[in-house]
């Protein structure tokens, strides 16, 4: 069976959007964060493009907040996009897996958000466009109690929105 390339692209786009929707926290205080109108992924100046074509998240090892080389490479792309699309600001959500006490995980997720912010700033993004949002273990995206879920939850997500921060 031979699929035409257009079908494959569409299927991939749907799968990606299924993955990313709900990944952002999107709760209050930040216009357009997480859900709503993110724009078509095909429009390179849209939040949807940022989420799906560039990639909005980096992952962390257990109890760590240091960036891996892969994470840094992704953040280079995020920085370039932010430097091009100067009307956008970003909330950097920090998250932790469920292993750990609530307050500690909140603090740890703040470290993770800050690692991303420091890196983006080191690549020239103005710090006033970036705001950390530590969420601790409040918003996992994968809900099993196994490492296969935990490693998706230990993340920092860059949620961009036009108009900057509220």
């Amino acid at each position: 069976m031979k699929l035409n390339s257009k079908t494959i692209v569409m299927a991939a786009a749907i799968m990606l959007s299924a993955c990313t929707n709900g990944g952002g926290f999107g709760g209050g205080g930040f216009r357009g964060g997480g859900g709503g109108t993110t724009g078509a992924a095909s429009d390179p100046t849209s939040a949807g493009y940022f989420q799906q074509a560039i990639g909005d998240r980096v992952l962390f090892a257990v109890d760590q907040h240091t960036l891996t080389p892969e994470s840094s490479a992704l953040l280079d792309l995020q920085a370039n996009w932010l430097l091009t699309n100067v009307e956008f600001g970003a909330v950097i959500e920090g998250h932790a897996d469920e292993q750990g006490t609530s307050a500690y995980n909140l603090a740890l997720s703040g470290r993770r958000a800050n690692s991303v912010i420091e890196y983006l700033v080191s690549r020239g993004v103005s710090p006033v466009r970036l705001q950390p949002l530590p969420l601790g273990k409040e918003r996992p995206i994968a809900i099993c109690s196994e490492e296969t879920c935990y490693n998706q939850n230990r993340r920092a997500v860059t949620v961009v929105a036009a108009g900057g921060l509220s």
Binding site: T101, A103, L106, L108, G110, P134, S145
Partner: protein, 443 residues
Amino acid sequence: MRLMITVAVGFACLLIGLPAIAQQSRGPLRIEITEGVIEPLPVAVPDFIAETADAANFAIDIARVVAADLIGTGLFREIPKNAFLSTPTSFSSPIQYSDWKTLNAQALITGAVATGSDGQLTVKFRVFDVFSDAQLGDGLQFGGAANSWRRMAHKVADAVYSRITGEGGYFDSRVVFVSETGPKNQRAKRLAVMDYDGANVQFLTDDSAIVLAPRFSPTGDRVLYTSYETGFPKVNVLDVGTIERRALDVQAEALTFAPRFGPDGSTVVLSLSQAGNTDIFKTRVDGGPLVRLTSTPSIETAPGFSPDGSWIVFESDRSGTQQLYVMGANGGEATRISFGKGRYGTPVWSPRGDLIAFTKQANGRFHIGVMRTDGSEERLLTASFLDEGPTWSPNGRVIMFTRESKGAAGARALYSVDITGRNLRRVPTNLSGSDPAWSPLLR
């Protein structure tokens, strides 16, 4: 809810003018809580006497709550009513001790309830030490509005508990907690307050924003908690009576969480996350300077005061892992007190001042434990997939905490355990619950 006490304020109550039915005696009726009770003490709680016609239901219900309070401690076992050989027919009728000895009832509690024309309820009770043929202490009487009958029952149970154990009670108290609905990745959270036994749940916030870790003021009329109402974590204070709430007046852009009141009811310690670093600060609930108490690049959080206000216990990963430390109330050098294998967090000083409760993680399991305030004599009270966040009963004898079950359907519930590690039980709540904080005894 405010209970009107018949006489004076506080835990005052009326000594009943009736002569004691037998000579007052300390007798052998005594439980030493610290020794850990293996065999619960048999107690009989007949229905209270209804002294007015419309007190009939109250007379039954109040006796049931008194019995439930006592049995719930794990220190008592109730003798079933269908085994009784006789039941009191009036509050002043003589006790047939032999009838209760036959049942091996060590303690007998009798009571009476009357309604007044003003809608007030009067509850009186006596405690008998059956094998000493004697009344234990004087009879007592409480008065209050009929809709606060559960509080009067809890006060009766507190008095009985005190007489038999020699310790303060904890039944006339409330718990503020986070009530939860929805799946793990979309939890909706509301602040709620309930009686210590799960009755009278009242919601304090809606579920439009994440709320975390509520903590009572020393008088129980205000609650500090963390809210994401602005989209970002901020310490808020809420008046339990009016449910009015506001963010604490600290730097507008500051991310703050993990607050606790000091014993003066004005001082607040909290954590502030700045450029990825979390440190401990002190301020005042009604406005005041933000004073930095720690300044290290490590995570310092979960601060709480000693009951006398002179010390702060907190957790820090400055050694490389989460451990417990104690510092003076104004900061300065901190002394590490946890040295066991594993990670320690969420320390809480006992209201008696003698112990610190904590969460410990070791070998992939979570424990609630206690240690002396210098870190010695560590004892783990529980073990599960995820236990965390202890809070002390007003008398420092029971700890409530959050237990979360494993897996995609994992849910949180409130549990309690006594400080000997016995009597682990689930606190009944209709919805999932987390982050309990116990009030002081109500006034």
